[in-house]
């Protein structure tokens, strides 16, 4: 069992900062690699690659459909292509082009989205993308990853860079607590048990993993033993681990900074319903749009907080004993 921690005291880092750094590292070892953006390269941090390798960076301007089409064209010629923008603009606007070009042809394009979820904060509902995992997960050939922290972001990039398939990798705008150890290894299609428990399982992704850990530690004091799983690989998903933890605890809570429709909650529900029906509570953005406000206040307001998650955990436990 991991040592008890207070996530608020952990160092924090934005995943997009890691993204920018790792792009530059990868660019050095892979001369075939190219990076594209659509007028948000400062925000997504692809500008670091732009500065390091100006010839291999292309700015499509504010034209996300063309961005994806060009990314596909570059990948057709055998290059490894990264394309970035905010989640809303890269997963939303050009979805159908992603489908026809990148997914259908299994092209080597990494769509790396920043500003996923409601922690975008003050830009409000127009910029808070809570439906991207759902949109991407349904595409054949598409892999979907939502890393939990900057350590995982780096491991994910360095692993999937060499897998010549389409990926959607989703980051938040804010700094996330760094919860994974430096020696953590990301494996596609594998979940990771951060804390073992026997009463209830929380399967989380993104920033909610750190909140799940915190909730688990706080609930320990109330005598509730929570298992915490980081399910960053949403597609392919770790079926075996989901079934195994459901058998062990008999109650599952999914937690994500995404709509409860179509994302991690739905993916876990699909696995459980078909293999091992279990009490399930989905924690995430309810079927609604977000609001403007400081990031963590918006999160709190929408229930995406440690206290919000604790409520859902208790709800699952109540359902379990009934």
């Amino acid at each position: 069992m991991a040592e008890k921690i207070d996530i608020n005291k952990l160092p924090k880092k934005a995943l997009r900062d890691t993204y920018g750094e790792v792009l530059v590292e990868l660019g050095k070892i892979d001369p075939e690699m190219v990076v594209l953006d659509a007028d948000l390269s400062e925000s997504t941090r692809t500008h670091k690659f732009h500065v390091a390798y100006p010839d291999r960076f292309f700015n499509a301007g504010i034209a996300e459909q063309n961005l994806i089409g060009i990314a596909a064209g570059l990948a057709y010629t055998g290059r490894t292509v990264y394309a970035s923008s905010f989640a809303i603009f890269i997963a939303g606007r050009p979805w159908e082009i992603i489908r026809q070009q990148i997914a259908y042809n299994k092209l080597n394009v990494k769509l790396v989205a920043s500003h996923g979820g409601v922690s975008v904060g003050q830009d409000g509902a127009s910029h808070q993308m809570n439906e991207d995992v759902s949109l991407m997960r349904t595409l054949p050939n598409m892999n979907v990853i939502v890393p939990a922290d900057s350590v995982e972001m780096e491991k994910v990039l360095k692993k999937v860079h060499w897998i010549k398939e389409p990926f959607y990798i989703r980051m938040g705008r804010e700094k996330f607590p760094v919860i994974l150890p430096e020696n953590y290894e990301f494996e596609l299609g594998k979940g990771y048990v951060l804390k073992e428990g026997k009463d209830v399982s929380v399967i989380a992704c993104g920033v909610m993993v750190s909140m799940a850990l915190q909730a688990a530690y706080e609930l320990e004091d109330e005598g509730i033993d929570v298992e915490v799983i980081n399910m960053s690989s949403i597609k392919p998903i770790d079926k075996d681990l989901i079934i195994q933890t459901a058998k062990k605890t008999g109650a599952v809570v999914t937690s994500e900074e995404h709509s409860i429709i179509g994302g991690l909650g739905s993916a876990v529900a699909e696995v459980l319903a078909e293999n091992y029906p279990t009490i399930l509570v989905r924690h995430g953005v309810e079927d609604r749009f977000g609001i403007s406000g400081p990031a963590w206040e918006v999160m709190e307001e929408l229930g995406l907080s440690v206290s919000g998650l604790k409520k859902k955990i208790k709800e699952a436990l109540t359902k379990k004993v009934r």
């Binding site: 190219v34 034209a63 459909q65 089409g69 026809q100 042809n105 299994k106």
Partner: protein, 286 residues
């Protein structure tokens, strides 16, 4: 290089293939295939496109992308004539079974990229959803430029297709980057599914639009072989600008009852109509 008379004979044969494919499948798009086929004939068999059907992945090959993917019968007939695929494969167009490794057809309703598991050798992109091919061509052209390769990327669009906003994002980008290894052809047959392009949402004037976006524009009669040859010759000499060949064509060209009739955009001929069409194509002067 073949002379014009030989090229016309090839186009006659390909027109017969197109009509036969659509007739056999009882499905497909004859109109836009027939308007495009003279241009494709000159591109593939008039010595312009650099390719090797024995080696479809040859790195220095020129690329051709059929952005108006519904004209797949035109592309497939060309690929068979060029030797990418056996002629008998044409009978698998729009059928379940065919020549893909898993037993399904490689001649999908709309072209699938040669790297796709149901793709056809010689297809440089998956198309069918209109508006995407120009952007994809730009990606391939950029990649070639970056690698100091001298291949060209050709792409054919429909006139209705350029109502798609994405094609103008692409036009702006290509002009900005002065992509002179990009040669686009606009099959200006004046018709789209619901009727006359000018009446649905007018796209004209085209020359002025593309010039304003930084392109070199060449206007031709897309059924006049000398003009097509001259246009490709000129296109290959232009430096510092992407090239747009606006080809004025006749939808359904070569089959009298299909010509200039939008009803023939996407329907198959009956047995009687098929026989008349083949009769016309076999006997007509070229």
């Amino acid at each position: 290089m073949r002379d014009i008379q030989e090229l016309k004979e090839i186009a006659r044969e390909l027109r017969i293939d197109i009509i036969t494919m659509v007739y056999n499948a009882q499905s497909g798009h004859p109109g836009g295939s027939l308007s495009a086929i003279d241009i494709l004939t000159v591109l593939y068999f008039g010595g312009f496109l650099r390719y090797d059907p024995k080696n479809p992945w040859w790195e220095n090959r020129d690329r051709f992308i059929l952005s108006k993917g519904h004209a797949s019968p035109a592309l497939y007939s060309v690929l068979a004539k060029a030797g990418y695929i056996p002629k008998e494969e044409l009978s698998t167009y729009r059928k379940i079974k065919g020549f893909a490794p898993d037993g399904y057809s490689r001649l999908q309703g709309h072209p699938a990229w040669q790297g796709n598991k149901h793709g056809v050798p010689g297809a440089e992109a998956s198309t069918g959803s209109l508006g995407q091919g120009l952007s994809v061509a730009i990606g391939q052209a950029l990649s070639g430029r970056l690698a100091n390769k001298d291949y060209k990327v050709y792409v054919m669009l429909g006139d209705g297709e350029v109502q798609e906003g994405m094609t103008w994002e692409a036009a702006m980008f290509a002009g900005h980057h002065k992509l002179d290894n990009l040669i686009a052809i606009l099959d200006n047959n004046n018709l789209q599914i619901d009727g006359d392009v000018r009446q649905i949402v007018n796209i004209h004037p085209l020359k002025e639009k593309y010039e304003a976006f930084g392109w070199h524009v060449i206007e031709i009669d897309g059924h006049d072989y000398q003009q097509i040859i001259d246009a490709f010759t000129q296109a290959n000499q232009i430096k510092g600008k992407p090239i747009m060949i606006v080809a004025h064509t006749v939808k359904g060209k070569g089959v009298s009852f299909m010509e200039n009739n939008f009803k023939w955009h996407g329907v198959a001929p009956s047995k009687e109509e098929y026989e008349i069409a083949i009769q016309e194509l076999t006997s007509g002067g070229v």
